[in-house]
């Protein structure tokens, strides 16, 4: 019965551990934990769209890009970070609604292609509209918002944002809204017979997921203090998709674990250099063969096996 509270507690504990660990760590590990927090926010968004509402999207990186560019471009004009974050999220939300419209007509692979088109257009805008985005040269010297200028303080900003997003998502998923997303994923026709406005919820699934991508982008830009178009191209979309799937699509903790793998694995496998991606790929394939529910599914099964063994003990 306390399962929903347990996953929330675990998620917040992860955030807390990250924040405390920051005290004793060098700048690079601090950067990695911040990156984990930022990717996790984005993956939580995609998990809403894909995992809970069942709508595939290859455009999540574009929303991260929109959030990042909104912050990088507006902050030098004196717009406070909080406002740029909201603007980035709002633009992403609106584009997310627009992206949702094709999903009312097409599903599955076809929907993937439509979202791919949006991802491509967004990338071309980031790269070619130099008057706005400074093209391939990117934007450098992005200032961190006061008082989160030090690496450690910025880590806490990222983790604090992740905590807020975590609480918000948890609340959303347990509300009738979250249940409606679930009904939508399981069976749209049956969902509509229960009074789920399939049209509105499909659009919302995209829009909320996209808005979280925007939030994550707003945090992303001041983290590395430099952005360029290639960072928000398809590889990031696939990477975010992998985070959701590896972590466990449709499970609350999935994005947290998936993003952890995505951030930590390159570091762990650094000595393998170019073979890193091959190893990553093989690991993903193996994981999905043995546990289609991702890491969360794997862990849940391991945990469930224990109580099965437990009743045998009193017998001896």
């Amino acid at each position: 019965m306390n399962h929903p509270y347990r996953v929330l507690a675990i998620a917040l504990l992860l955030v807390l551990v990250g924040g405390v660990a920051g005290f004793g760590l060098k700048p690079y590990p601090i950067y990695l934990i911040s990156q984990w927090a930022v990717y996790t926010i984005s993956a939580i968004g995609l998990n809403l769209t894909l995992g809970y509402a069942g709508q595939i999207s290859l455009a999540q990186a574009s929303f991260v890009g929109i959030g990042a560019y909104a912050t990088a471009l507006l902050m030098p004009h004196g717009v406070p970070f909080g406002v740029t974050l909201v603007i980035g999220a709002a633009i992403s939300f609106i584009l997310g609604v627009l992206l949702g419209f094709p999903a009312l007509r097409v599903q599955g692979h076809y929907l993937a292609f439509v979202t791919l088109a949006l991802a491509t257009i967004a990338f071309l805008v980031f790269r070619n509209e130099s008057w706005l985005t400074n093209g391939t040269s990117g934007i450098d010297k992005i200032v961190r918002p006061f008082p989160f200028t030090s690496d450690l303080a910025y880590l806490w900003l990222c983790l604090g944002s992740l905590a807020i997003v975590t609480l918000g998502t948890w609340w959303l998923l347990r509300s009738p809204w979250g249940r409606a997303f679930l009904a939508l994923r399981e069976n749209p026709v049956r969902a509509s017979s229960l009074g789920v406005d399939v049209r509105m919820y499909t659009l919302l699934a995209f829009a909320i997921g996209a808005a979280l991508g925007g939030v994550s982008g707003a945090l992303f830009a001041p983290l590395g203090q430099y952005i360029e178009p290639a960072e928000f191209a398809l590889p990031l979309s696939f990477s975010l998709l992998l985070m959701v799937v590896v972590g466990g699509s449709g499970s609350f903790l999935g994005p947290f674990l998936g993003a952890m793998v995505a951030v930590a694995l390159p570091e762990v496998l650094r000595s393998f250099q170019d073979y890193y991606l091959v190893i990553y790929g093989v690991m993903v394939i193996l994981l999905l063969v043995f546990s289609p529910d991702g890491l969360v599914g794997l862990i849940e099964r391991a945990v469930r096996r224990r109580p099965v063994a437990a009743p045998a003990e009193p017998a001896k």
Binding site: P176, R190, L194, G195, V196
Partner: protein, 252 residues
């Protein structure tokens, strides 16, 4: 609510509609009295299920009106109708098999505004159906067919409907389970829910019903108390499986 207990819950007034260019309902008119079980019978293709779709806003109507509690609800969306106290339990299996019984019940509350309301209604449903409480954490696909039907009914009740549309509840169920489902419907009726049912199993459905409606080619052929329809020799011959003597003149 200050509704007159004698006023009908639902009135169909000359409803015309169908699929594409095909017309199924040819000016269908009938009404459902409050806190009764009304069973619609009729041959295949008479428009029984289509009538339900029309009421629940799943069909484009070309004419006529549908009144719920005296208010015109013609063309309202299913979500709006649920808000106004209609629930629809379609034919066949309509649970979400991969989800738990508890989650299935919660999905009945998606049209409710708040999480708290959803939760308390689910608890009520579990109180009402102890078998579902026993299996609350089980995957819904592990329930028997009859239990799945009860789950669907329980889920429909989450929205506290005043009118339940239930299409062929006995289909695919063992006779014992059918009894169980029918008994549940009677209990609901006694609690004030009006029930409109379509049933192939016409005789047993009419036996637990207050009123009956006979449909033919999308029109109301006959309306009466369930008893009078059960005792009508013509109906008995046509739909209830009595011996048919074609030479015998129809009684007036």
């Amino acid at each position: 609510m200050a509704t007159d207990p004698n006023s009908p819950v639902l009135v169909m007034d000359g409803v015309v509609g169908g699929y594409g260019r095909m017309t199924i309902l040819n000016g269908l008119s009938f009404s459902v009295a409050r806190a009764t079980i009304t069973t619609i019978i009729g041959p295949n293709g008479a428009g029984k299920s289509t009538a339900f779709k029309a009421i629940f806003g799943l069909l484009n109507l070309r004419g006529g009106r549908i009144l719920l509690e005296g208010k015109d609800v013609t063309g309202h969306s299913p979500a709006a109708l649920i808000g106004q106290g209609v629930c629809y339990v379609p034919q066949g299996r309509n649970i979400f098999p991969e989800l738990t019984v508890h989650d299935n019940l919660e999905l009945g509350g998606v049209a409710l505004g708040t999480t708290a309301a959803m939760r308390s209604r689910v608890e009520e449903a579990l109180d009402r159906f102890p078998i579902l409480r026993q299996k609350a954490r089980a995957q819904a696909s592990t329930l028997s067919g009859g239990q799945q039907k009860l789950l669907e009914i329980a889920r429909g009740l989450i929205a506290r409907p005043s009118l339940m549309l239930i299409d062929e509840p006995s289909i695919g169920l063992s006779p014992l389970m059918v009894k169980d489902v029918f008994a549940t419907l009677q209990k609901l009726r006694d609690q004030g829910v009006s029930i409109l049912m379509v049933e192939q199993n016409a005789r047993s459905a009419l036996e637990i019903s207050d009123n009956g409606i006979v449909l033919e080619t999308g029109r109301t052929r006959l309306v009466g108390t369930a008893k009078s329809i059960l005792n009508d020799p013509r109906i008995a011959k046509l739909f209830l499986g009595a011996e048919v003597d074609l030479d015998e003149p129809a009684p007036v």
